[in-house]
């Protein structure tokens, strides 16, 4: 097996671009949400400042090995997810490490970070961390279901599990996108997307008012910095999957920026409009509204 070492700098470049885009994007999204409340909101560079500040904090504590490793798991999950999916269609340069596995790898690697984070938060011994984790896990069982069904429908539709091939099948015009060739699957997946973005109405996991603030309660300084970085990278990595599966992928960086922005915007728009669901409410919501769409999708392809 010959490994092309040039892949490593290429992957780092992707990572660099995505991380910066992520920092800016989340700030812009915060600004958009603020504008809904007629505020100006944070400056677009605020995320960088917060990151530097967090690295700049001088003291920190640790509750134990898993606590220490939690954020590492978390960020590994985000970076790894990004690495396992080709970012830009048609370039060898930004196909990252996608030779290691296909769509299924990406789907399951999503959980890597959450699992490690949950363990780290658990070792802090803080009850709120555990409560947040139980809420998150409970919600994810229902929220992931429509997405899994949609992915299955798409894989059956294109008869492949390779992300690149799925994107390839969608080239040649906007009407070739899965969005138009299999709208049921996309609808199901987008509802699921709302559930995994940690925004209202599905943000009971963090719920700052009741369980400050869920799993990351005990995390601070450089731990928090790692998690913030993940918060910039991970949603984008996840959106890249959605983009590739349903919205025709991106053949260049500008298209990438635009599509990611628009997909992200969906969850923000929903988030600023709706109040928060309790866990059992959101589970029922997914089972009643999103799952039937997914079932219809797998039966129709």
């Amino acid at each position: 097996m010959s490994f092309e070492w040039i892949k490593i700098p290429y992957a780092l470049l992707t990572l660099f671009i995505v991380a910066n885009y992520g920092f800016l994007l989340t700030a812009v999204m915060a600004k958009i949400a603020a504008r809904v409340g007629r505020r100006h909101g944070i400056p677009v560079w605020q995320n960088y400042v917060d990151l530097i500040k967090n690295y700049g904090l001088r003291s920190s504590i640790t509750h134990g090995v898993m606590f220490y490793l939690g954020p590492v798991f978390r960020l590994t999950g985000g970076v790894g997810l990004l690495m396992f999916v080709p970012t830009i269609y048609g370039t060898e340069m930004f196909s990252n490490m996608s030779f290691a596995g296909d769509l299924i790898l990406a789907l399951y690697f999503v959980f890597f970070g959450s699992l490690g984070m949950a363990l780290g938060a658990g070792e802090s011994g803080h009850p709120h961390s555990a409560i947040g984790v139980t809420r998150g896990l409970s919600q994810v069982t229902a929220a992931e279901l429509p997405f899994a069904l949609a992915v299955y429908a798409v894989a059956v539709q294109y008869q492949t599990l390779s992300v690149t091939e799925i994107v390839a099948a969608q080239q040649g015009g906007i009407l070739h996108w899965t969005l138009f060739s299999n709208p049921l699957a996309v609808a199901a997946a987008m509802l699921s997307f709302l559930g995994t973005m940690m925004r209202p109405p599905f943000d009971v996991v963090l719920a700052p008012q009741e369980i400050p603030i869920g799993p990351p309660t005990e995390y601070h300084s450089s731990y928090l910095a790692l998690m913030q970085t993940n918060r910039a990278i991970f949603p984008i990595a996840k959106i890249v999957i959605y983009m590739n599966l349903f919205f025709g992928g991106a053949a260049s960086w500008p298209v990438f920026f635009l599509k990611v922005f628009l997909i992200y915007l969906v969850s923000v728009i929903v988030g600023v409009v709706f109040p928060r669901f309790r866990v059992e409410q959101s589970i029922r919501w997914f089972l009643i509204w999103a799952v039937p769409l997914g079932i219809a999708a797998i039966l129709m392809v």
């Binding site: 640790t62 898993m66 596995g101 769509l103 690697f109 011994g125 279901l145 309660t217 997914g294």
Partner: protein
């Protein structure tokens, strides 16, 4: 050879001689009786030897020197020889057993005993009807006398009731004989048979009267209240004789009479017999008195044999083998159990808990129960196999159903009794210490095993007692006095050696299962080094299970497969029963397993079409319309072991309550036996349709539902081992789902689950067991914060749950990847919804497992807890290594299997070039994943260590608590009712519907038993009326037919 008539002569003579002795010479009288009985036994034994070795042939003895019908003649054939031997030996052993009582009662009792034995032999030997009547009278009178030997006050009443009943019987018999003589002009049985008595004027009625009289003497259900009172109140040694000797003799008489009746009367015998078998077993369910229970069981067994007598037309030359097998097994077991009951003071079933601490007696108890139920390697097992095969061959399916149902009931109450004896609080009453009595019991045990060997030798299917694995397991009975370390080493070496020995003969599929079961079993046995002392009973049971598994894998014909299946069931039952509070769970395990085994038996029988040597490969040739039924029966049978939903209720308790090193055996290994069976089934039969329903689709739904319910239930458990047990149900659901997909990758996934589930479930059970051992509880919310104290256990659980949840880079992901590729070619999509939802639910219980035990707040009493014992940790660490290796190079195990499966599903094989595994749809490179993840993880970790090198290590209460501080660890550890919101949302799916269903079935059976039991009022007149009513009903039914 000594003439058989001397049996009668010696008995009668000795009885007279004793009558002449003076009352004081008790020892002399006793000696004479014993000598007489011994001599009688010797004569019978001589005949058995001569006839069995083929040196002689059956002999007719003309008493008056002339041919019948002018004189009475006796016959000594093989059957007669065996039965007289049985009767005489029972008499002899009972006499030994009764030594004290007989000394007290004196020569009259001795004489009665001798007359009883002699007369019973007479019934067997004689070929003359009137003579038969005389012997019956003698037996009846002697019985009446012997009943009074008991110290029980009720014995007197029982004896009286018995005399009333037997008078009715005698009258019927006598009238019948007179009519028959009138019709045929002969009293000789063979003579009547030749004349076809039934066609003659009045012959039918005459025969009916004689036949019904004999049948009544068999104490048929339900006209048998008088007999049960005797069983309950008479001296147990006498009950033994009544149950073993007199019933055998009467059965033989019935057999002789059926010669006259010819084939038209056979269905009547079958009907009465089966009705009795099922009915008496049902009634026995409600019994709490040990002897009465044994009485019911006797009635049931006699009914079964009567039913077999009724089927003699189709059993052909195997008739004696089958009927004899069941009869002898019954006689030995029943005599043995009655004798055993004589050692026990209390009459409640639970009083048998006095046996605890007497391993030899418990072994005897277990042997007798196995004899009765017909488990391998006892004669009843061979007999039942051939019986069921033969019945199925002739299409008598209803009979099979009733027989197996009755047998299941019987197993139910017997094993419930056994469980109570072993697990209830030990009764304080001592077990009688008489060495005579024990010797008698042990001789019955020895005879049982001996018969097992003989029947094995006679069986065309091969002798189980010569199978090496089984012998190896049984050898541990002899090794029991040694210490655990020695026995454990022997066991491990034996299992590995057997694996190496048989290695060349395995195909890849068998190899995987063999590796999991034998090598895996040996690995788990490492954990057993941590126990101390002798650990009596563990090794024979465990080895019996492993022997069954070893034989299962290599079985090529249906019989050896079934025998292996039964062996592993018994072994695992004893293993599970060892747990602290496992009595009810072991029982439900046994009942489900035996029920499943009986379904398998029925399935094989259906497929075999009458061929007892049916090969497994023959399943492929079974054609419609039976094929789908065979498929269904076998599939349900196997699914009792994989605990598919609906048949799963035994599993959580059985796995959770088992000992620390037993849980991984029964979970990691035993469940795979069911999967292996399903593999064999699906490979041979493919998919089948029944009424247009694709049966594999049904399996898909069952698998998916098991996965969902198992996972969901696991998420709501507070008990760590129960959690793991439920998760096994879910995991087996996945495997079943994969198999039922009937495509290449589905099967590969099922195999991947076999390996993965074995590794991580064994590992988790061991580490959780170790934690439970150290913390003294299995409730997770009582633990917490153990990560620093038990780091190795934590690592095992961590690796285990990452692997189990399917998160890359560990091996669970491989299973998920194959799963996704497999479903892309599946034709049927709906059940996948359930599978998709159960995947994330696994995270729920896995996180709960690791969090509530190892993370969170450490409890006060656990502050000094040590890491689990070395021998528990060692196998865990080996498993961790395996998991990592298997994660990196799954091809090691899967590549060859992949090729092997191509025989059955040629399309869809994986590509194994280089480091990447490719399917038709996607690709996966385990090593690349591991490297990428590893590099990212390591760099980020290094970065964190660099920027955060001065982190202050804090303790458990240094958490932000809204300006407050935590109160106590117990109130700070969030663990109990962990997924409360989830329960709110989906808790309705965890309603124990299945449990309620089975509880309702059991309640219904018990209520029936309780209701109809009232027939037995204890009133002699009622009993007499019941007798007559029985006669009338049988007559009406018969003539109506």
């Amino acid at each position: 050879m000594v003439s058989a008539i001397y049996i009668l002569a010696v008995g009668l003579g000795a009885a007279f001689l004793i009558g002449l002795l003076r009352d004081e010479w008790r020892a002399g009288a006793y000696g004479v009786s014993l000598a007489a009985l011994a001599l009688m036994s010797l004569i019978s034994a001589g005949w058995v030897w001569v006839l069995a070795t083929g040196d002689g042939s059956a002999v007719d003895i003309m008493t008056a020197g002339t041919l019948p019908p002018y004189a009475i003649n006796l016959r000594m054939g093989l059957a007669e020889a065996v039965l007289t031997l049985l009767i005489n030996l029972t008499g002899l052993l009972s006499a030994v057993y009764l030594r004290d009582t007989l000394f007290k009662q004196g020569r009259r009792a001795l004489a009665t005993l001798l007359v009883f034995t002699m007369a019973a032999c007479g019934i067997v030997l004689t070929r003359d009807l009137f003579n038969l009547f005389v012997f019956f009278e003698l037996v009846a009178i002697a019985t009446g006398g012997l009943v009074l030997l008991s110290r029980d006050q009720r014995a007197l009443a029982a004896g009286f009731k018995y005399l009333v009943a037997s008078q009715v019987i005698t009258v019927l018999l006598l009238v019948g004989i007179i009519f028959a003589y009138h019709a045929t002009g002969t009293l000789n049985i063979d003579g009547m048979a030749e004349l076809s008595a039934l066609v003659l004027q009045g012959g039918a009625l005459a025969f009916f009267l004689m036949f019904i009289a004999i049948v009544l003497d068999l104490k048929p259900f339900p006209a048998n209240g008088w007999a049960l009172d005797i069983y309950e109140s008479a001296h147990p040694a006498f009950s033994a004789m009544l149950s073993a000797a007199s019933a055998s003799a009467a059965l033989f008489a019935a057999d002789k009479l059926l010669l006259i009746g010819g084939s038209t009367w056979l269905p009547v015998a079958t009907g009465i017999g089966l009705f009795g078998f099922v009915g008496a077993n049902l009634f026995a369910l409600a019994q709490t008195n040990d002897r009465r229970l044994l009485g019911y069981s006797s009635v049931a067994q006699v009914g079964l044999i009567l039913a077999v007598l009724g089927q003699r037309d189709l059993l052909g030359d195997r008739y004696l083998f089958i009927a004899g097998g069941i009869l002898l097994a019954h006689a030995l077991a029943k005599a043995g159990l009655f004798w055993l009951s004589g050692l026990i003071e209390g009459r409640k079933l639970t009083a048998w808990s006095a046996l605890q601490g007497h391993p030899i007696l418990i072994f005897a108890f277990a042997s007798f129960i196995a004899l009765l139920v017909g488990l391998p390697p006892f004669p009843g097992f061979y007999a039942k196999w051939e019986l069921v095969i033969a019945l199925a061959g002739q299409g008598r399916l209803a009979l099979i159903g009733l027989i197996l149902f009755g047998a299941l009931l019987e197993a139910g109450y017997l094993f419930r009794w056994f469980g109570q004896a072993l697990k209830r609080e030990r009764s304080l009453e001592p077990v009688a210490a008489s060495s005579f009595k024990r010797a008698v019991i042990l001789s019955a045990v020895a005879a049982g095993w001996g018969l097992g060997f003989i029947w094995g030798a006679l069986s065309p299917n091969g002798n189980l007692l010569l199978a090496l694995p089984l012998l190896f397991a049984l050898a541990f009975l002899a090794l029991e006095p040694l210490s655990v370390r020695i026995k454990n080493s022997v066991a491990i070496v034996g299992m590995v050696a057997w694996f190496l020995l048989t290695l060349p003969s395995y195909d890849p599929l068998q190899l995987i299962f063999a590796a999991v079961m034998l090598l895996g079993g040996a690995l788990i046995l490492l954990a057993s080094y941590q126990t101390q002392g002798q650990r009596i009973g563990f090794y024979p049971s465990a080895m019996l299970m492993y022997a069954g598994l070893a034989m299962l894998i290599v079985a090529e014909d249906a019989f050896s497969f079934f025998a292996a299946w039964e062996s592993l069931t018994i072994g695992s039952y004893f293993l599970i029963l060892r747990g602290q509070r496992s009595e009810p769970h072991a029982l439900s395990y046994m009942i489900f397993s035996l029920g499943g085994a009986f379904l398998i038996l029925a399935g094989f029988a259906l497929a075999a079409g009458g061929d007892p040597l049916f090969a497994l490969a023959g399943l492929a040739e079974v054609a419609a319309p039976i094929a789908p039924w065979v498929f269904l029966l076998l599939a349900i049978g196997f699914m009792t072991k994989t605990a598919a939903v609906g048949l799963h209720i035994w599993l959580p308790g059985a796995h959770a309550e088992a000992e620390t090193d037993v849980s991984p055996m029964v979970s990691g290994i035993l469940l795979k036996a069911g999967l292996f069976g399903l593999f064999v089934l699906l490979m041979a039969m493919g998919s089948q349709q029944l009424y247009g329903v694709e049966l594999t689709h049904l399996l898909l739904w069952i698998g998916a539902l098991s996965a969902l319910i198992g996972n969901l239930m696991a998420a709501f458990q507070e008990d760590a081992k129960r959690l793991l047990a439920y998760s096994s149900i879910g995991q087996m659901g996945y495997a079943l789902f994969g198999l039922a997909m009937m495509n290449h990758l589905g099967w590969l996934m099922a195999l991947m689950f076999v390996i993965n589930h074995f590794i991580y479930k064994s590992m988790l059970f061991l580490s959780v067991g170790g934690v439970a051992k150290r913390t003294g509880t299995r409730d997770m919310y009582r633990m917490g914060g153990l990560i620093t104290l038990m780091p190795l256990s934590f690592i095992a659980v961590l690796i285990g749950i990452i692997a189990m949840s399917g998160v890359p880079p560990l091996s669970g992901f491989g299973g998920r990847w194959i799963f996704y590729n497999a479903i892309l070619t599946a034709e049927y999509r709906l059940p996948m919804i359930l599978i998709f939802i159960s995947g994330p639910i696994a995270f729920l219980y896995l996180f709960r497992l690791i969090h509530t035990i190892f993370l969170g707040q450490l409890k006060d009493e656990h502050r000094r807890v040590k890491e689990a014992p070395f021998w528990l940790v060692l196998p865990q660490m080996i498993f961790v290594a395996f998991l990592l290796v298997f994660a990196l190079v799954p091809g090691l195990a899967l590549r060859r299997v992949d090729a092997y499966i191509s025989q059955f599903h040629p399309s869809g094989a994986l590509g194994w070039e280089g480091l990447t595994i490719t399917s038709d749809f996607g690709y996966w490179s385990p090593i690349s994943i591991m490297i990428v993840v590893g590099v990212i993880f390591a760099s980020l970790f290094a970065w964190l260590v660099f920027v955060n090198r001065k982190a202050q290590k804090v303790k458990q209460f240094n958490i932000v608590f809204a300006g407050e501080r935590p109160f106590r660890p117990e109130t700070t550890h969030f663990a109990w009712n962990f997924f409360a919101p989830y329960r709110k949302a989906l808790g309705f799916m965890t309603e124990p519907l299945v449990e309620r269903f089975w509880a309702a079935v059991v309640d219904l059976l018990h209520a029936c038993a309780e209701l109809f039991r009232r027939l037995y009022t204890g009133n002699g007149q009622t009993y007499a009326i019941q007798l007559l009513a029985f006669v009338v009903v049988v007559y009406l039914l018969r003539t109506g037919l």
